[in-house]
Every structure is written in C-alpha cells, then in structure tokens.
Amino acid sequence: MEDAAIIELFFARDESAIAETDRKYGPYLAGVAFGILRSREDAEEVVSDTYHGAWRAIPPTRPNVLRHFLARIARNLCFKRLEHDTAAKRAHIQTSLDELEECVPDGDSEPERLWEARELAGLLDRFLDGLGELDCALFVARYFYCQTLGEIGERYGLSRRSAKYRLEKLRKKLRKQLEAEGVVL
C-alpha cells in the first residue's frame, strides 16, 4: 500500500493503518530499534510502541516521508528506554554517545545562550549538506541508526578500521563547525 493511503487510514482512524504500517515497515523499524537496543525482545516492544506513537501523532501530523517519520519515533523510544537501563545494557550506545561528546566544544567561556536540539539539528543539516554521499551515509548510519563499525563496514564495503578512521575525521570536522558557530551545550 502506498504511504499516502496508509496516512489516510490514520486520518480516518481506521485501525488497519497499523496492520498496513506493520506490513510495510515492520522489518525496517525492527532493524532500526535493534540497531540501538541490541535486544530482539526490546526492539519488538519498541516497534509496537512506535505504531502507538504514530497513531497518536497522525493526525494532526501528516508525515512527509512515513518511513523516516516512523524511524524517528522508534529512535526516540529506544533512547527513552535506554535511560532506564543498566550501564551494561547501555554499553553499545554509550560508545556512540562518547563519540558525539568529542564533537562538543569545550565551552570554557560563559555561554551567551544554550542551543536547543532543534537549532542544533539545523546546524547538523548544514554540516551534512557539505559532506559527500558516503560520508553523509557513514555519519547517519553511526549516529542516527547507531550501527556498529562492523555493520557500517559491511554495508558500505569498508574495513572496520577504515570506517573508524573516516568517522573520526567527520567528528573533528563537526567539532570545528560547532565551534565556528559558537555552539555551547
């Protein structure tokens, strides 16, 4: 079923919207959730909650790209779930967060203002616009989908070491850009 038709089902409060969404995007969302949580059971629960979230959000929201709209819900739910998890269960995602920490400027000076996540997203958009296709994909795979270096290497035909090196360079580049913009978090 086309996305537009599925969205119409949501707007019509037709419960088959859930089944159609699951039919079309269930495996994709399970992949997104598993990538972050690394637990099949937890991922399945998040996928289920994602449909619930979509049901509440549509209407009024009319997603531009349903697939990505759902992925964002799933991603948010995954991180919310991880907030309550033990350090051991967070280990995988902690690596990704530690890497992002490297990008954050020191902020020694007194901040003029704090940046909100939405503003930061705009800055990230500009940063990604300046990257080539592969680098953009590597960044998104690592920090949006939280894939491991091994998975990224497998997908994009790079060795693990090569993927790691390219991501290090990207983080340095991002840090410079954040500093140039005067970002303080």
Partner: protein, 471 residues
C-alpha cells in the same frame, strides 16, 4: 551529558539526509545467516504430473538438458547484522513487487476449476492448488499446437501463447520467495524419454519463461526414477514423498511434465500451544475428536454472506493470507463452492459484509492431503484433444509424426496447519495491544464442522484451496 543533546539533534536531522543515506548502494557481499530453526505454521505442497505415452527404450544414463536457475534472493535477516541485512532483504523483495497484479484475469479459471476439482464425497478431504495447475497447463500450451493448444488457452482465458507466456512468467515471479523466512516456489520440469528427438528451442522457452528444468533418460529405469523422485522431493521439501511412492515413470512414457508448489510460512501471530485442546469436530459421518487451536484476534476480520461466514489470518513478512470459510449449518463446503455469492467472495471482489471486530478463533489442527485424477475433469472443462493420439499435437516439443497422447494428469497436494510461528507471536500481539481502543463487538469463529480454506500468496492469487471434511 552534553552529547545527549547532540544525540537528540541527530534524531531531528532532515529527511533528505536519511534519503541520501539510503541511496548509497551497499556493496554486494555474502551475509551470514541463520535460517529458521523451528517448525512452520503451514507446509503446503502440490504436484501435478502429466505423462504422455508412446514407446521404446534402451539403456542410457540420465542427464539434464537444461536446469533452471532461480533468481537469487537476499535472505531474511538474522543475527548481529540485522540493520543492514533488513535493508538488503527489503531490496530483494522489491523485485517481487514489480510483478504484483500478474494474475489479473485468472479468476475465471480458478473459479471454474475449483468446484470441479474439489467436488467429492462428504467424508474426504481434498486439496487443490490453482496456481500449480495453472502453471502446468501453461506449459502444456507451450508444448502443444493447433486445437490441443487452443483448448488449453481457452480454459486459461489467454488470448494467445505470447500473452500466456508473459503472464505465467510474471505469476511465477510474483509468487517466488525463498529468503529463509518464507518459501514459495513454483517448480516446473520436463522428463523426456531417451529416444525423443526434442526441439531445443521449446525447452529453452520453458527454461526462460517457466524456470523449468528438462531431463532426458531411460523411462522405467531405476536411475531415472530416482532422479525424478529426488527432484520432486527437493522442490516440495519431501512432503509428498509418500504420495509419490510407486509413481515411477514407466517404460511407455514419452515424456512427463511435473509442476510443484511448495509454500512454507509462519503465522503473523502464532497460536499458543497452551490453548490447544481436544474438542469435537462435527464431520458428516459423525463427531470426531480433533486438537483445536485457539486465539483471539483483537482486530480480526469477519466476513459474511447468505450461506457462510469467513475470517482470515495473515502470514509473516507479507507471505500471504489463509482464509477460512465456514458454511452455515446445513450447507456443505461442496455446495458453497457452487454458490455464486461465495465464488464472488473468493474472486476478491469488493466485499461489503465485512467488519473488524474481536474474533475468538478456534481452528482444528489439520494435515490434509489428496490425490486427484484431473484427466476426466479437464476433459469436462473442454481440454480433450491432448488425451487422444489421433488429435494430440505435440509438434512444438517433438516431431509430429510420432503418435502420443496425454495419458494421465494427477494432482497431489498436502496442507499442514499448526500453531507454530513463535517468533511472530509477540510482534503482532504487542503491536495490537497498544494501538487503539478494542472494538466493541466480538464473534466466536469456530471451525468445528466441514469448512473451506484458501491460501493466497503475496500476489493474492490462490496457491491452495481445500475442503476439510475430517481434520
């Protein structure tokens, strides 16, 4: 932690970056996999065998003239590389989607044949695979000419051979799944006598358009029979081996054509074995005890007509759907198959009498199988010339001066249904639990008397239809 704010921002990046990421082509490489370890929810297989007799034999070994190569399909993701593997698997499925709608116009054939082929005594189970017979008849049209071909084309509703060939190829592809999670495979083969001087171009057409393998060997020899049985076993997962015992090709056979269907899929949401218990099934010959599976579909589909009610269950990963049609009290499944309203429902027409409600489903576990002789039934449907050596025309396959006739058309099928599909259970049930308010209405749908079932594949074409008179 400051990184968490940045992480939240990453979650808000614009769709265009996600799209760019998806456009970067993954490098093709072999993935590590685990196949499904557990049993399957539905195991279905069918074989149709057409043999043509003539004569003559001498000793020789078996060899393959051409062996079909099936399209490569990315495997269903398992293990640690789930994220990437899902994407590769999804891309593989896109190929199948391109063939959706291939069976447009086949309803008339399915609806004309089902009542004929599934008719029989009230104490027997019968299974028929419409797609299997369609594929076999399409191949028969390829190897015949003149009136022999025209009669087959007419039954299939095809305007000409070229149109039929295109459609059969699309139907084959639309129903092909072999990704480890779902198996849906239409196998075709031709078994030629060693003395037959065949036309190579016809075998090539069968290979390219129907994914058919062709073999040649000494009819009646143990080596040929063994190869023949091995091929069927491989195509049907060994499920029909007991039905095929003693069905060896005899020495008089000029050629045999075999088409198979093998379909394995798990329920989207499994039945729990905990709730399976023995209950009475009211068969025509008296009550029999059967193991009934139970499940509540919170958002079940309930359909009804003047003489039946129906519900459906989906298989995982878009593999298809199983439909259960329960005739009203006093109506037999065979009567239902000749009922215009029921046929209209089966043809997939837009059905108004449908409600989404809580369905308390009770289904007997069953393992039904049947062997149908379709020769007389096909003759009754207008396919007659191929059955007489005076009128049969096999010139596309071999020299027309050799008299031959189609001597047998046998159709064996088996459908096994049970609770399995454990991996799927939590997935759908959890999804449903949080989705919306439960419907107010509910219905008990208990298949405790003879009923009909239809299994439609990914393309919504009927892979199997059956009458369960005694589970």
């Amino acid at each position: 932690m400051r990184s968490e704010k940045l992480n939240n921002a990453v979650g808000m990046i614009d769709d265009r970056h996600l799209e760019r990421t998806e456009r970067v082509r993954p490098r093709a490489r072999r993935l590590k996999w685990l196949r499904w370890g557990g049993p399957v929810a539905a195991v279905l297989a069918a074989v149709i065998l057409l043999t043509s007799v003539w004569g003559g034999r001498t000793a020789m070994s078996v060899y393959a003239i051409s062996e079909a190569s099936y399209p490569e399909m990315a495997k269903y993701p398992e293990g640690e590389d789930l994220g990437n593997a899902y994407e590769l698997w999804r891309e593989g499925l896109k190929r199948q989607r391109a063939f959706r709608g291939a069976g447009e116009g086949l309803d008339a054939f399915f609806l004309a044949t089902a009542p004929e082929f599934l008719d029989g005594p009230a104490d027997g189970n019968r299974v028929y695979s419409p797609l299997n017979v369609y594929m076999a008849l399409a191949m028969l049209a390829e190897i015949t000419d003149g009136n022999s071909r025209a009669q087959v084309l007419e039954l299939l509703g095809a305007s000409d051979l070229e149109a039929l060939r295109r459609q059969a190829n699309a139907v084959w592809n639309a129903n092909y799944r072999d990704d480890g999670a779902v198996t849906s495979l239409l196998g075709n083969s031709l078994w030629l006598s060693k003395d037959l001087k065949y036309r190579q171009e016809t075998l090539e057409t069968l290979s390219q358009s129907y994914y058919a393998s062709s073999y040649q060997g000494e009819m009646g020899s143990e080596a040929y029979n063994e190869r023949y049985r091995e091929w069927i076993d491989a195509q049907t997962g060994g499920l029909l081996s007991d039905q095929l015992k003693g069905k060896a090709l005899d020495a008089e056979t000029v050629f045999a054509m075999v088409s198979t269907v093998c379909f394995r899929a798990k329920w989207a949401s499994a039945f729990s074995e905990v709730y399976t218990r023995p209950e009475l099934f009211h068969a025509a010959g008296g009550d029999v005890e059967a193991a009934f599976m139970h499940r509540t579909e919170t958002y079940g589909d309930y359909f009804w007509g003047e003489r039946f009610s129906a519900t459906k269950l989906d298989f995982r990963e878009g593999a298809g759907t199983m439909w259960f049609l329960l005739p009203d009290e006093g109506v037999s499944p065979e009567e239902l198959l000749r009922d215009g309203e029921t046929l209209s429902f089966l043809s997939g027409s837009d059905w108004q009498n449908h409600k989404t409600l809580r369905v308390n489903l009770s289904v007997p576990k069953f393992d039904v199988r049947s062997q149908l002789d379709l020769k007389a039934k096909l003759a009754g449907l207008g396919v007659t010339d191929v059955f007489s050596r005076e009128t049969a025309d096999f010139t596309p396959l071999f020299d027309g001066s050799l008299p031959a006739e189609l001597s047998a058309v046998r159709h064996g099928a088996r459908v096994t249904v049970d609770e399995e599909g454990v991996t799927a259970v939590a997935y759908t049930e959890m999804m449903v639990a949080g989705a919306a308010m439960p419907p107010k209405d509910e219905v008990d749908f208990t298949l405790d008397r003879p009923f009909l079932f239809v299994i439609t594949g990914a393309d919504e074409l009927p892979l199997f239809m059956g009458v369960v008179n005694r589970p």
